[in-house]
């Protein structure tokens, strides 16, 4: 399936890309656009104002994905807290990892040429976070 979101991915969108590839759609392909009007036809939009899979109430898009796809994995719930704090910067969950993740992904944005490349690297970051938290949570 084709998934599409805005260019210039930060922690919420890169997290969603990993989540989609890892837990929702193993065949996922991604398109990154400048303006929602340029989104490819038939693509499932996420983290875009007005999309089903986007911010809602207090939630960031990663949290919305967990709800929409009923992903009850406690490790994913932990990651969603970190993504929330890094994305919305409201210290809702007081996750200390959020500051570090924010800095790492912002830095990667600066040195990597585009979102396809970026999400390749951030997949490994989230995979590592998942493995680490699995050790602590499960």
């Amino acid at each position: 399936m084709l998934w599409a979101t805005r260019r210039g991915c930060h922690v919420d969108r890169t997290g969603c890309v990993w989540l989609i590839r890892r837990f929702i759609d193993g065949e996922a392909a991604f398109s990154f656009f400048e303006d929602p009007a340029e989104a490819p036809e038939g693509a499932e939009l996420f983290d875009v104002v007005g999309a089903r899979l986007s911010h809602g109430g207090d939630d960031c898009s990663f949290e919305t994905f967990l709800k929409e796809y009923s992903l009850g994995d406690p490790v994913l719930a932990e990651i969603s807290e970190i993504v929330h704090d890094a994305d919305l910067m409201d210290e809702k969950y007081g996750r200390p990892e959020a500051d570090g993740l924010d800095a790492v992904i912002r830095g990667m944005q600066l040195v990597l040429p585009d979102d396809q490349t970026l999400t390749g690297y951030t997949d490994a970051v989230f995979e590592g976070l998942y493995a680490y938290l699995s050790r602590e949570v499960l």
């Binding site: 930060h10 104002v49 809602g56 919305l88 910067m89 409201d90 500051d99």
Partner: protein
Amino acid sequence: MDVAVGTADKTRWLILIYHLPREPSRHRVAVWRKLKALGALYLQDGVAALPADAVTREQLEWLQLRVREAGGRATLWEAWPNTVAENQGLVAAFRAAREEGYRKVIAGAGRIRRKAELGGDEAPLLEGLARTERGFRAERRRDYFRSPLRTEAAQALRAARRTLVEGAEPTDREDVGQGG
């Protein structure tokens, strides 16, 4: 009298204009709190300004959505003040807001350092220091015009931490070996 000049000398600003129903008040509080956290400056009631960059733009877009979801109205604008002087006034107001925050950090760090020098129970001091450091990071995130007090605040925190950590007697801490 100041004269309007080209936009090159001016900051590009984002202006969120919003109106929320009076009740329930929690939405108004949530939006106000978020704008405060972002370091936005209220130009007047329901009109908040932030310097434009990718992060502030995105945060304000989500806030605009939030206002609409709560039954309010919100529009987001990109703007420049008409004159350089007006722009400087805005920048000065932003700097002043951050300096107030940094002064609190400097005072807090100084208090902790002095208490640490006197000895005494470390745990509450470390906790207080962590809180002050969090406060510093929050200020730094919204310090869009690099207040000169930023360096001073960072140094005060480093001095407090050094005093606390170096003054500490080695104890059988459980988390030894977790680092690296």
